[in-house]
């Protein structure tokens, strides 16, 4: 339905069903859409990067130092999910805002003389909020892949002369790559199309493609263009995901 819609034209309330590629041409040539696409990808890839970077040490800690409290640690990680996603994103407004918690705190510490403005209503805010929101999802696949590593391999690498750092880069990281790639996919795919977070904390500089799609569907009354944008982002996400999967396969083939 959406696919078909993207080849039609809408004139106020009338749908012109003649086949046209104009929507796609517009989607890929108009600077505003190009900007939104690239910003979405930028935000999403940055979020993916930081999420994995943050999640890895947590997963590592739980897996290697969790002892018999691993279940408890994993349980604690789910606590943020006890409140709704919307609420958590909204709270970032409170934290990052002009008179927000962070600014008040820094002002009180006299580390800054006036409130920071680069942290709310732009893409940085979106990145921070999304990274926080999605980190737990990245922890699990990484945790599982770390758990699967046979501990005797770690002893073997020590036995063969590796110190802790070499051991990490020669054994632990390569063997947990499937989990890392899995986590990256899990974060990347949904965050590209995220709509609520940029709407709440993104201001105008932080808007993403999903926001534009929503505008086109409702206010701008141009469902075919919205459909074309949706299909386009679908294709882009699919393409990047396939690249991820291929990387994953390269690592998985060895096992």
């Amino acid at each position: 339905m959406m696919f078909l819609l993207s080849f039609w034209t809408q004139d106020y309330l009338v749908l012109d069903k003649t086949f046209t590629l104009n929507n796609y041409i517009e989607a890929f040539t108009q600077p505003v859409y190009q900007l939104l696409f690239s910003r979405s990808l930028y935000i999403s890839l940055t979020v993916t990067f930081f999420t994995v970077l943050l999640a890895y040490p947590m997963a590592y800690f739980i897996s290697f130092y969790g002892g018999n409290r691993k279940a408890l640690w994993l349980f604690l990680i789910t606590i943020p999910f006890w409140t709704s996603y919307l609420l958590r994103m909204f709270l970032w407004k409170v934290i990052l805002g002009y008179n927000g918690v962070l600014n008040s705190f820094l002002l009180w510490l006299e580390m800054i003389s006036e409130p920071l403005t680069f942290i709310l209503y732009n893409s940085n805010a979106v990145i921070i909020a999304l990274t926080h929101g999605w980190a737990p999802f990245a922890i699990l696949p990484i945790f599982v892949s770390l758990e699967k590593i046979d501990r005797s391999l770690l002893e073997a690498s020590r036995d063969l002369g590796d110190g802790p750092i070499k051991q990490f880069f020669r054994v632990i990281l390569p063997l947990s790559m499937p989990g890392v790639v899995g986590a990256a996919l899990i974060i990347f795919i949904p965050t590209v199309g995220d709509y609520i977070t940029p709407k709440l904390v993104g201001g105008t500089d932080g808007l993403m493609i999903a926001n534009m799609i929503q505008v086109q569907f409702s206010k701008a009354n141009n469902a075919p263009l919205a459909a074309a944008l949706s299909v386009s982002s679908l294709v882009i996400v699919a393409f990047i995901s396939i690249v991820f999967v291929l990387i994953n396969k390269k690592y998985l083939r060895r096992y």
Partner: protein, 358 residues
């Protein structure tokens, strides 16, 4: 030859369990040394203390007269072959074997040559590029060996390396390991629960029970002169017969139901002297003799059980009112076989009897 590995009064406890409970060992350079014992006796823990994967609760480990206290496994002159081989699944055969070498500063060409040599040593020439997952159990074993030996450790530690292999391959690997050890001259310390493996491969064996060394001896002494009933029944089979000391001079005079009055040299009596004594004899030291033969020390009895092993047959023979003898008879040419219920006459080799006072 100097003492290469010394364990001095080592203790290791996990919570309430004393896995290693006061062990002292001296292992000479170039020896094939085995730690033998039932599972849970602490032999693997002891090996891991030597490797550095566990820290002793008290006591010390010396390698080459250097205390290993506070020295991490990667800095010890030991390498280990793990029970499950611990082959890196993300690396191929060559990368696995070269793993430890890559930490050294020699150039690649030389390293690659060493890898080829090591693979040849363990009989895996030409498999350099094979993926670790495409290897059979025996091949993984060889990769693990090559990977450890290539670093020329002072001591090679082997943690039940053969237990995952089938019987034929295990026997083949046993003799290969023995040859390999002689060829490279490195001290091997083998942990095993398989008594025959320990006996056939080692120069010396330490038998462990409950975290302690029960006896440390050459394989022959261990079998022929076990110093306790526990060791005697763990290594091979032994029949125990109640006896009573009735006289004592240079030799001990012992009365028992089956053998009547016999004398045993004091060098073959173990344990504290007391009235109650247990005689032990190995099944193959008793022969079946024709019922017509007449000589001293003959015992007659009735077969109550027959176990056929191919090259040998074991008979359980009820002799007298309470005692049962187990005898092992070679199924060689001309040897008669017997069945349950038959009366047979036995002749025990009294020189091979040992006594444990309890």
């Amino acid at each position: 030859m100097g003492k290469l590995v010394q364990v001095k009064n080592a203790f290791k406890s996990f919570g309430d369990v004393n896995a290693v409970n006061g062990v002292s060992l001296d292992i000479e350079e170039g020896q094939f040394y085995s730690l033998l014992g039932p599972s849970g006796c602490g032999k693997t823990t002891l090996l891991r203390l030597i490797a550095g994967f566990e820290k002793p609760t008290s006591g010390q480990v010396f390698i080459d007269n250097t205390s290993m206290e506070g020295i991490e496994p990667n800095l010890r002159p030991t390498n280990m072959v793990f029970q499950n081989y611990a082959i890196f699944p993300h690396l191929n055969v060559e990368e696995n074997v070269a793993y430890g070498l890559r930490n050294k500063r020699e150039n690649r060409t030389k390293q690659n040559k060493l890898v080829d040599e090591a693979l040849e040593l363990v009989g895996l020439s030409g498999l350099n590029k094979r993926s670790a997952n495409a290897l059979s159990g025996g091949q993984k074993q060889r990769v693990a060996l090559a990977r450890a030996l290539i670093l020329k450790p002072k001591v090679l530690l082997l943690d039940e390396p053969l237990s995952a292999l089938d019987k034929k391959l295990r026997e083949q690997m046993q003799s290969e390991l023995r040859h390999l050890q002689r060829a490279v001259g490195i001290t091997f310390i083998l942990v095993t629960h398989d008594q025959y493996e320990a006996l056939t491969m080692s120069d010396r064996v330490a038998v462990m029970f409950d975290g302690k060394v029960a006896q440390e001896a050459s394989p022959r002494d261990l079998y022929e002169l076990p110093t306790s009933q526990k060791v005697a029944s763990f290594i091979g089979e032994m029949t125990f017969i109640e006896g009573e000391i009735i006289g004592e001079n240079q030799k001990l005079k012992i009365q028992s139901e089956i053998f009547g009055q016999i004398t045993i040299d004091k060098s073959r009596v173990f344990g504290q002297s007391s009235k109650r004594i247990v005689l032990g004899i190995r099944p193959e030291k008793i022969a079946i003799v024709p019922r017509t033969s007449r000589s001293k020390n003959l015992v007659s009895g009735k077969i109550i059980d027959v176990s056929y092993f191919g090259e040998t047959t074991n008979y359980k023979v009820a002799c007298g009112a309470t005692e049962t003898l187990t005898i092992s008879s070679q199924n060689s040419v001309g040897q008669l076989s017997y069945s349950v219920g038959e009366e047979i006459q036995l002749k025990a080799d009294l020189d091979n009897i040992i006594a444990f006072s309890t």
